[in-house]
Symmetry: C2
Subunit: 305 residues, 2 copies
């Protein structure tokens, strides 16, 4: 593999299509990953929140990583989610990701106990990094308190950067407040700050951030890629606005469910409409409303074949 | 095994002692389980919140169940926690618990996504029960929104009882509001309501509930057992008050950490003082304050050798 590992740009938080048994539909998954790279994604954040990763066993998640590797998706383009409640699970997933050449891993904190101390979170991240014990490991922290219940504080980042400067390289901030992303860009130079919200892609790039890792990049990668390519240009705000149109429309509905519905409509593949419980497909009424809302902004998937 | 499966009374949410590698210290664990039954616990809720179950891999949890079985702890006394974010994990753990003769399982809802619909939670519980597909399975739902972020509503209970009347048999309510427990006792006759808070043991028994499943029962099982034995008697309020003394003192400190500190002091075993990150042992200062607080109520562990 001679590709340079991805360190910025626009990454999709990749959706997981499911077969009739609610197992990953690997051919559809691989084709989607290839299409996202062709559309302009600089990398793929597989096995994250949007991927329903926590609804899959560790074995299933490793199976998905291995399928991507076997299909020739370069590890250098992947930043898989590997954070788990149990340290041995996070270690196993992270080891496998590193072995497959992943550019980095996106690591949720353990998310069952709350509140937990920064010392406890530091210890948890330390244990995983030390047990993996591989100089190739690059860790992106994952700040998504609305799901995890466990925020990543500036104090924790500072402590981790001091202890693991070559390993802890960035963060995905999905909390939806730009001030936090801006603050991290200022407080931690060189630390790669990815927005988890499409709305802040241009803002975070202007603040010195790394780019975006978002759910909407499953259906709007081309729009995000145009923002990333043109963010220094005169046209940047217009390009961001075109991205906002999609996000603003989709976010009126449950996000993962809606993106799967959109993929199902665009491709005709029922694998996209399935979710693992506790998530459920949109109702017919919601799906119709979503379709009408997207028609009103003349949205279509920019995808070859 | 001819023992009658436990359906009520006072159960300990069993702590997990850890060796120097932070793996379960099985001999100490087994001895603790035996001691709890000797002290008056009617059953053992292993692999729950207090047990740090979500900090262990599925394999580790199954190993602990098998160690208890091999040590002769009757399955009829066990209600292990088996709820996981991923359905295949919950199925695997539940199958193993049933195979080992467990009286029931205490099942967390999938706890990463929030909010989720009752339909989604119903589908998740249904999938697990149908995939296990064993008439011996008895499920206790687990309402602990402060950790799971996913409450178990009356609507969900009603739907589950209608669909699985022989399987869904009760709930542990750890949310700390007696009104909710009382409401469930009234709304669902025959549904076994366990309080997760020691403070409500007498109240829930008087309301027709099943008993308690609590963390403090690791150190106060004898006090809880006296409430359970005497709840219809004239002395009941005094017995409950003696239990409250312990709980009130311990709850000024982080709960799991404090109970482990108390066990470490009482037994001299360092295995009790260890926790898996993100949980951390009490600081020396906290431990000293806890010790003084317990001395002030003349607390001691009621345990033979």
């Amino acid at each position: 593999m001679t590709e340079t590992p991805v360190t910025g740009g626009v990454l999709a938080a990749v959706l997981t299509p499911l077969d009739e048994r609610l197992d990953p539909d690997l051919p559809t998954y691989i084709a989607h990953c290839r299409a996202l790279l062709a559309e302009g994604c600089t990398g793929l954040a597989v096995l994250g929140t949007t991927s329903e990763a926590n609804s899959f066993s560790v074995e299933e998640r490793i199976g998905m990583l291995e399928a991507l590797a076997a299909a020739g998706i370069p590890g250098a383009r992947l930043i898989p989610g590997t954070g788990c409640c149990a340290i041995p699970d996070a270690v196993r997933l992270t080891e496998r990701a590193v072995a497959l050449g992943a550019a980095g891993v996106l690591m949720l904190p353990p998310f069952y106990y709350k509140p937990v101390s920064d010392d406890g979170l530091f210890a948890a991240y330390s244990e995983v990094m030390q047990k993996v014990g591989d100089a190739r490991l690059k860790v992106y922290l994952y700040h998504i308190p609305q799901n995890s219940g466990v925020p990543i504080t500036f104090g924790l980042i500072e402590k981790l950067l001091k202890a693991y400067p070559a390993t802890v390289v960035g963060i995905k901030d999905s909390a939806g407040a730009f001030a936090n992303m801006d603050g991290m860009c200022k407080a931690f130079p060189g630390f790669r700050v990815f927005t988890g919200s499409d709305a802040f892609l241009l803002d975070v790039l202007r603040a010195g951030g790394a780019g975006s890792i978002t759910a909407c990049n499953n259906i709007a990668a081309a729009r995000s890629a145009r923002v990333y390519a043109g963010w220094r240009g005169a046209d940047a705000d217009r390009l961001q606005s075109a991205l906002n149109d999609v996000r603003r429309t989709v976010q009126k509905f449950p996000l993962i469910e809606s993106l799967k519905e959109i993929m199902a409509r665009a491709t005709g593949r029922p694998a996209w409409r399935r979710l693992r419980p506790p998530l459920m497909p949109l109702s017919a009424k919601e799906a119709a409303e979503l379709g009408a809302a997207l028609d009103s902004i003349a949205f279509s998937l920019e995808r070859a074949a």
